[in-house]
């Protein structure tokens, strides 16, 4: 084919010629991996930054407040004349709100995932899934506003004794916020179960329900559990909803109709409040943040561990 342009140099000759010029670029290219590595290490630096910040200031805190008191204290009165820095009220608030959120998001998210992955016709899924994902995209401040101005009054109609700020309403709304996360991740896990597996079960005369519960869910279990753990981690870290709708009482109680403060809400309160840098209360912010960070870190590692360890091989 090169025969019909005798008057021109052949392409391979041209390429050979260009090769000399490209030597320079080849040199440059060697730098690419290092350059990219530098960029990639920014995320590591971020982690280092977070850990350093939290640790450095927490150390100052624990110089004033014994670690044991912090982790076993049931009274949190940071600004009082005789300040007490027990983190348990905050942990309690965080755990209770998370449990409420997961009681809402777990079953509903899971069942939505089943519907979307196993039952919904394609066109329905294409509409419903993005719609559901809008829920995850609603800014949490909006949820906070909604929980405070709408859900709480609504709950009051059912439980008249409920307080204007309570942990129940933000808990429920946090659950709503997490539904799409669980639905979406579980749906992904279930959708990635190969169809051949479903076909195998259906071909034996299983109903869809049986196929789902006996074959698909067991096969997708690791992904589903991981989605739950991530949901929990999200609930633990959620800030604005509880900051607005759950008030700031630092009660150590289990009354979900009452006001409680979570770790995140405490951080917002103290950071936006009167605490002056250098005071114990200011440092307490970082001690709480460190606790929060460790909590979510454990959750995330757990999620990762679960999805790796229990991944079904198929």
């Amino acid at each position: 084919m090169a025969a019909n342009n005798k008057n021109r140099m052949s392409v391979s000759e041209m390429i050979e010629q260009q090769k000399q010029k490209r030597k320079f670029f080849n040199q440059l290219e060697r730098l690419v991996p290092s350059l990219l590595l530098i960029i990639a290490s920014i995320s590591v630096l971020t982690t280092v930054g977070i850990i350093y910040t939290l640790f450095a200031e927490s150390v100052a805190f624990f110089r004033n407040v014994p670690i044991l008191d912090f982790f076993t204290g049931t009274v949190l009165k940071p600004l009082s004349q005789n300040p007490e820095f027990g983190v348990l009220p905050l942990l309690n608030g965080t755990i209770i709100s998370t449990v409420i959120a997961m009681l809402v998001a777990g079953p509903i998210g899971m069942m939505s995932a089943i519907y979307l992955s196993e039952y919904a016709p394609d066109n329905v899924r294409r509409v419903l899934k993005p719609l559901l994902e809008i829920l995850a995209g609603v800014p949490t401040i909006v949820y906070g506003f909604f929980a405070f101005t709408f859900v709480t009054p609504l709950l009051r109609m059912i439980f008249p004794s409920i307080e204007a700020t309570n942990i129940l309403s933000p808990g429920i709304i946090m659950g709503v916020m997490i539904i799409p996360m669980i639905a979406s991740l579980s749906e992904d896990a279930m959708s990635s179960v190969p169809n051949s597996m479903r076909e195998g079960a259906l071909a034996l005369g299983s109903t869809k329900l049986e196929t789902t519960f006996k074959v698909v869910i067991p096969a997708a279990l690791s992904g589903i559990v991981a989605s739950f753990v991530l949901g929990i981690s999200r609930a633990i870290g959620e800030t604005m909803i509880v900051a607005i709708a759950s008030g700031s009482s630092k009660n150590f109680s289990f009354d979900i109709t009452g006001s409680m403060q979570t770790m995140t809400a405490y951080i917002v309160e103290v950071a936006g409040g009167e605490a002056a840098a250098g005071t114990t209360i200011y440092y307490s912010l970082y001690a709480v943040a460190l606790t929060l960070f460790v909590f979510t870190l454990i959750m995330n590692l757990l999620a990762k561990y679960i999805s790796r360890k229990f991944r079904e091989e198929y």
């Binding site: 600004l79 607005i244 008030g247 700031s248 409040g273």
Partner: protein, 300 residues
């Protein structure tokens, strides 16, 4: 017209509005003072100096001082208390001359649920009794009052209001266990407006904005019950015992360099009394305004 800025400097300023100034002014500090300061800042920018930008934050009195007492810090710090010794020391170290400006008076208001038709008048002793936990039921105060548990509310320790309540009204005795202390006033107002046995306290401004939802308790300081109002919470008024001044602190060293800062300081003093009422504060006496203005003249 930023080109006029140079001219403004040597012209000095007798009445702040005559010269066109530019630049920016940063204010932070107390959330209690914030409504007043925000209002003043806004009026200043609209009516006096369009080219000057004023930003008002409300990090809180102490956090505000943190931002105030650093190189390139804020120009003003609002405070619902006086500057503390260590803060003053820090200012000295930095070489800042700090000028205290008293801008208004805030009356601490005791509030109840609108349906509460019994506890409309209380004495300071009874209030202490309630908030120290000596009375647990209304009937402990007066036999004719309902035999129901009193529920106490207030802003939490974050607020200067709490500090004042604790230091002045409770004379540094510990508050009753189980009092519901909230961070946000909106929460507090809602809580009290929905609890028939509620009694709480906060600044007069928050009562004024929510008169339809809550009642104010009249206080009997020994000469008959006094209802808190803009008139009664004046410096020598009958409600004075429950009244405290609020301040803004000026970095006077900065004001020497930035004419707009000085100009704004004057504006605040001259106009605070005009808008105080709308934002829930009582004015301070004119003489005091004048003497503070004179002190400012010294800065130049």
């Amino acid at each position: 017209g930023s080109g006029d800025a140079d001219g403004a400097e040597d012209a000095g300023s007798e009445s702040g509005s005559s010269e066109e100034l530019s630049g920016s002014i940063a204010i932070d500090g107390s959330g209690t003072v914030y409504p007043l300061m925000a209002r003043l800042a806004e009026d200043y920018m609209i009516n006096e100096q369009q080219e000057v930008s004023v930003e008002v934050g409300r990090a809180g009195t102490s956090a505000g001082f943190e931002k105030f007492l650093v190189e390139n810090g804020t120009d003003f710090n609002d405070a619902s208390r006086e500057i503390k010794e260590e803060e003053q020391t820090k200012a000295d170290e930095l070489g800042f001359e700090v000028q205290e400006l008293k801008v208004a008076l805030d009356g601490l208001t005791i509030v109840t649920h609108p349906d509460n038709d019994w506890a409309t008048e209380l004495t300071p002793e009874q209030i202490q009794g309630i908030f120290l936990g000596e009375y647990t039921q209304w009937s402990d105060i007066d036999d004719s009052w309902p035999k129901e548990d009193i529920k106490t509310y207030g802003p939490n320790e974050n607020h200067g209001t709490y500090e004042f309540f604790y230091e002045t009204i409770l004379e540094e005795q510990d508050l009753v266990e189980g009092i519901d202390l909230q961070k946000d006033y909106s929460t507090l107002v809602t809580l009290i407006s929905e609890d028939k046995n509620a009694i709480g306290f906060f600044g007069f401004g928050y009562y004024q904005s929510n008169q339809d939802k809550i009642n104010a308790v009249s206080i009997d300081f020994g000469e008959g019950a006094v209802e808190p109002s803009l008139d009664t919470i004046a410096e020598d008024g009958p409600y004075a015992d429950y009244t405290r001044p609020v301040f803004t602190y000026l970095n006077a060293s900065r004001a020497q360099e930035k004419p707009e800062v000085l100009d704004y300081a004057k504006y605040v003093l001259e106009n605070a009394n005009n808008v105080a009422g709308e934002t829930g504060f009582a004015p301070i006496p004119d003489e005091e305004v004048q003497s503070q203005l004179e002190a400012l003249e010294g800065i130049e």
